[in-house]
């Protein structure tokens, strides 16, 4: 179903007069038309002379004047020559000499031209004669002017040339002067209305009615004007019986109907009268014609006026109806409800939509005060608003209505007060629209916005929105804090971050990739902030601002500060390296045989060469060359052995030590962690005993861990080698004299012989079948390098105890002597 198409609202043009433009004519048609008009004038004049003889070569009706006026009004001044020619010819045909005929023609043509000028140019007559104005104009300016000019002309002719016969041979009495005017009133209207545009063709019933009207007109005309009926109807007042017919025509068929009825009546009246029949002929001849003319003029004018009035009324009514229908349609199709009310706020009209909004029918609404529709708590508001409206306020407002079922409805009201001519408030109307949905949306939007605002503004993650043009559209407070920049410095500018050199390329790639499907990128980079380099983990989404599915218009990127994580990872990585290193150190025992092999090879070769040389030299058969070669080999192999030792040394030491403040508890904890699995395997318990609040020691953490780990492993192996039931390793730490911290590792193994307490620190001394005797020697050199000491003592009972001292970082704390 389609909405009714809006029909154009008719303008009021038909009420204020149409501009009439004579149709353009080609020269051929103009000539043909001119001939036709001239012919019509001439023929009608001849016909009139024949049909309506008035004696002395005159006619009682001269249609030519009416035809001429109608032709001029319809086709313009172009027809004046034809009218002039026709006039002269008519005059000539009545026996008038050429001179007077030409003069008469000029006079008549000039008269008609002036009438045309007055009607067309001055009063802009409507050719349809549908307005009172037009009827009056035609009667007064058309007919009146001709009567006046003819009268003046005739007296002028009589005065100037009494012996010249007057055109038409009509005596210079008042009746003769009227003939042209009457012709305009009677003949011009049928022609003009005939040419007027018809609104719609007559319906069948109207055609029958028209036929009836015509028949009744003819019958009544015949009855009135034919003396055959005179015995029955012979009264002078009878012609007035034509008036009802004229009114009938005016009511039912408008100006066109009237003009034809009048014309028909006139033809019959003139026809019978000119043959001495009817009421007008019964009188004195001069008086009769004058009376006939006056009667016909009154009949024509009255009928036309009547028709014009009806026509105007009908037109106005039609326009009002049309307009009203349009407005009604407009009002009813509006999404806003419309309500009209009087000055007291009593509703006088409610549109369909308004009824829907309130839930009441129109009948239920009309007569009630608008206030009753508001919910109780807002009725005061309505009253206040209505008071303002009385003062002319058009300010719109929101109101909650109570619908018929009690349901509440939020509406927006746009009031329009109406004031009368004196400025008095007479009521008004209001447009009312449902804003429940809007309110709900607004509320949801507000809540959503608030929610996101809170999320965005309170979170520590950095949020930044960048448009297609690469400019910043939004930055979160966290972002501004991180980079120490104001919003004004960032918004509308390209996103400029000082990125770490290594991250720039990947970052640029990610930023451009996010605009491509699947519109997501995740990357990490380092950005310079006032606090230094920070690691940021970014996730970026390209989003469309309006609808899903359309091209993305911006990128929202969220960055999480992962500096701490990155540092931890870095530390963990370093730690792993350290661990790997420590484990290399700790596997020193397993490496020993391989290393021994490496050293054995050059040593064996050296011994062989040396013995060979000795024998050769002793035997006295030595060739110098041979011995020299052997000695070179000896030197080379000795260097090789030295190289092996150097490698071993650097392998164990792990490069130069870095001294820093280290917590003893940390050192011990780390070592226990590394040693724990092995100890657990052997069923040995590691028992730390760290004194509280120890000052940190100055040490290379890795190296000291190596030393400690070596001690702990030695302890574990010693317990394994022994058969003690108690399988424990004690790791203690406490303050020692001289600004040192002492760490002890004590086992429950077989212990050391008194002479071994020092020997264990000698290189290549070992009590282990697979040891090469480097561990403790190396450990001691490490500890010495730290400015500490490493020594062994016999533990009370069984087992060995190793002592390790390290200098503390700061001056010894007071309280310890």
């Amino acid at each position: 179903m389609t909405a009714p198409s809006a029909r154009p609202i008719s303008t009021a043009a038909s009420l204020v007069g149409r501009e009439y433009a004579a149709p353009p004519l080609r020269i051929g048609r103009l000539v043909a038309l001119s001939i036709a008009v001239a012919l019509a004038c001439f023929v009608s004049a001849q016909g009139a002379l024949l049909l309506f003889p008035a004696g002395k070569g005159t006619a009682m009706l001269v249609p030519a004047a009416g035809i001429a006026v109608a032709a001029l009004l319809l086709w313009g001044a172009r027809l004046l020559p034809a009218i002039f020619v026709a006039h002269v010819l008519v005059d000539l045909s009545t026996g008038l000499p050429l001179g007077p005929a030409l003069l008469s023609g000029v006079f008549a043509t000039a008269s008609l031209a002036s009438v045309y000028f007055l009607l067309d140019q001055v009063v802009r007559i409507d050719r349809a004669l549908s307005r009172i104005h037009d009827v009056v104009a035609l009667a007064a300016l058309g007919a009146g002017t001709l009567v006046l000019l003819n009268t003046v002309g005739r007296y002028a002719m009589l005065a100037l040339a009494p012996d010249v016969p007057l055109p038409g041979a009509i005596p210079p009495d008042s009746a003769a002067a009227l003939v042209a005017g009457v012709s305009v009133l009677l003949v011009a209207p049928p022609i003009l209305t005939w040419h007027a545009p018809r609104r719609e063709p007559l319906a069948r019933s109207q055609r029958i009615e028209a036929a009836c009207l015509a028949a009744v007109t003819v019958v009544i005309g015949v009855v009135i004007f034919w003396d055959y009926f005179m015995p029955m109807m012979g009264y002078a007042e009878m012609p007035y019986a034509l008036f009802p017919l004229v009114f009938w025509a005016a009511l039912r068929f408008g100006p066109r109907g009237v003009s034809w009825v009048v014309f028909a009546a006139a033809v019959m009246a003139v026809g019978f009268s000119s043959h001495g029949q009817g009421p007008f002929a019964a009188r004195d001849p001069g008086e009769g014609v004058l009376a006939l003319y006056l009667f016909l003029a009154v009949l024509a004018t009255t009928g036309s006026l009547f028709a014009a009035v009806f026509s105007q009324r009908a037109e106005a009514g039609r326009l009002v109806r049309e307009s009203e229908q349009q407005y009604r349609l407009l009002v009813e199709s509006m999404n806003e409800g419309l309500v009209m009310h009087d000055s007291a706020g009593v509703m006088t009209y409610a549109s369909e939509r308004f009824c829907e909004l309130t839930g009441y029918s129109r009948d239920e609404l009309i007569g009630r005060i608008g206030r009753e529709l508001a919910v109780p708590e807002e009725q005061a508001k309505w009253t206040e608003r209505h008071r303002l409206r009385r003062q002319g306020s058009r300010e719109s407002f929101e109101l909650t209505l109570a619908r018929k079922g009690g349901e509440r409805l939020a509406v927006h009201v746009s009031p329009r007060p109406l004031l009368d001519a004196k400025g008095e408030y007479v009521g008004g109307f209001a447009l009312v629209s449902d804003i429940t949905e809007r309110r709900r949306t607004e509320q949801a939007l507000r809540e959503s916005e608030e929610k996101y605002r809170v999320i965005v503004e309170t979170q520590s993650d950095l949020v930044v929105k960048i448009g297609r043009d690469g400019r910043v559209a939004f930055v979160s407070p966290s972002y501004r804090r991180m980079f120490g920049r104001d919003e004004s410095e960032l918004l509308g500018q390209p996103l400029e971050l000082e990125l770490h050199e290594d991250d720039r390329k990947a970052t640029a790639q990610a930023w451009s990739a996010v605009w491509e499907s699947p519109h997501f990128a995740s990357f990490e980079n380092r950005a310079m902030t006032p606090q230094g380099w920070r690691w940021l983990a970014w996730t970026a989404h390209a989003v469309a601002d309006d609808k899903a599915g359309s091209e993305p218009s911006s990128v929202i990127a969220v960055a999480h500060d992962v500096t701490a994580r990155r540092r931890a990872e870095e530390q963990a990585r370093q730690h792993l390296q350290q661990l790997a290193h420590v484990s290399r150190v700790s596997s020193m025992g397993e490496m020993a045989s391989a290393i021994a092999h490496e050293i054995n090879q050059p040593l064996t070769a050296i011994a062989n060469y040396a013995y060979a040389c000795l024998r050769l030299l002793r035997s006295g058969q030595s060739k110098q060359e041979e011995v020299l070669q052997a000695m070179q080999q000896v030197a080379a192999e000795a260097e090789r052995a030295g190289e092996v030792m150097r490698k071993l040394r650097s392998f164990v030491r792990g490069g130069e030590g870095q001294l820093s403040a280290v917590e003893v508890s940390f050192l011990v904890a780390e070592v226990l962690r590394f040693a724990a699995p092995e100890a657990r395997q052997s069923g040995i318990e590691l028992l730390p005993a760290i004194a509280p609040a120890l000052a940190p020691v100055l040490a290379d953490s890795i190296q000291i861990q190596q030393v400690l780990l070596n001690l702990v492993r030695n302890a574990v192996e010693a317990i394994n080698a022994g058969d003690s039931e108690v399988r424990e390793v004690w790791i203690g730490a406490g303050r020692a004299d001289g600004g040192h911290v002492e760490i002890t590792v004590e086992d429950t193994g077989p212990g050391l012989a008194p002479d071994a307490l020092e020997k264990v620190f000698e290189p290549f001394y070992t009590t282990k079948s697979e040891g090469i005797g480097i561990g403790l020697a190396l450990s001691r050199s490490i500890v010495d390098a730290h400015g500490g000491r490493l020594w062994a003592s016999a533990a009370p009972g069984r087992g060995a105890r190793f002592h390790l001292t390290l200098p503390v970082v700061e001056e010894r704390q007071s309280g310890n002597g």
């Binding site: 092999h597 040593l603 064996t604 050769l616 077989p750 009590t767």
Partner: protein, 204 residues
């Protein structure tokens, strides 16, 4: 009689070369090979000879070489050289018929004696050449603990393992070991192993 040849198989050039020189300095013919397979392909059969092979070599090890020879040329005496910690392998070699084994780095005299014995196809040492009865008599002088220690050592167990097995400290084992060597008059671990084999205390 053809001049005997001493073959040296070692992957280490310096060892190879220095051994060859040492052998030549005492007037022995020496031929060197860098790998066991080269030796098997190139040595002269039917000539009095002995072989010195490193126990650890890429490809075929000294032990494998010795076992291969035992199957094909039992006449060729083999001296195994071992490095640190390879005692167990050396004992295995002895059991499977190696004539002797020497630990690196070695005393020249020990090596040359071993070579001469091998070439002469004599029992390795005077001590071992003693009669079985005499040997068994020496063994009876050991205490039961010393005997236990001796058996484990002769199987190539490190002192530490012996100590763990017997529930003794390593030092105690060392003391016992010294006593065993002294009582049996063994000059080396190889002597000890040979005596144990001779007295059928351990199975070859």
């Amino acid at each position: 009689m053809a001049e005997p040849i001493v073959y040296v198989v070692d992957d280490e050039p310096a060892i190879r070369d220095s051994l060859a020189m040492l052998l030549r300095s005492v007037g022995l013919r020496a031929r060197t090979f860098a790998a066991a397979r080269e030796f098997l392909a190139g040595y002269e059969r039917g000539v009095p000879a002995c072989l010195i092979a490193d126990v650890r070599m890429p490809g075929m090890s000294g032990l494998e070489l010795q076992e291969t020879l035992r199957a094909t040329d039992a006449a060729l005496p083999v001296i195994i050289i071992t490095g640190h910690g390879d005692i167990g392998m050396a004992v295995r070699a002895m059991k499977s018929g190696a004539s002797d084994f020497i630990e690196k780095p070695f005393n020249e005299q020990v090596l040359l004696d071993a070579v001469h014995r091998a070439l002469a196809r004599q029992p390795p040492t005077a001590a071992v050449s003693a009669s079985r009865a005499e040997l068994e008599g020496r063994v009876t002088t050991l205490t039961s603990r010393e005997r236990e220690v001796m058996l484990l050592i002769a199987e190539g167990r490190p002192n530490k393992v012996v100590a763990t097995r017997l529930g003794l400290s390593t030092r105690t084992v060392e003391v016992h070991r010294a006593k065993v060597m002294e009582k049996l008059q063994a000059r080396s671990l190889a002597d000890l192993v040979r005596m144990a084999i001779a007295c059928e205390l351990i199975q070859p």
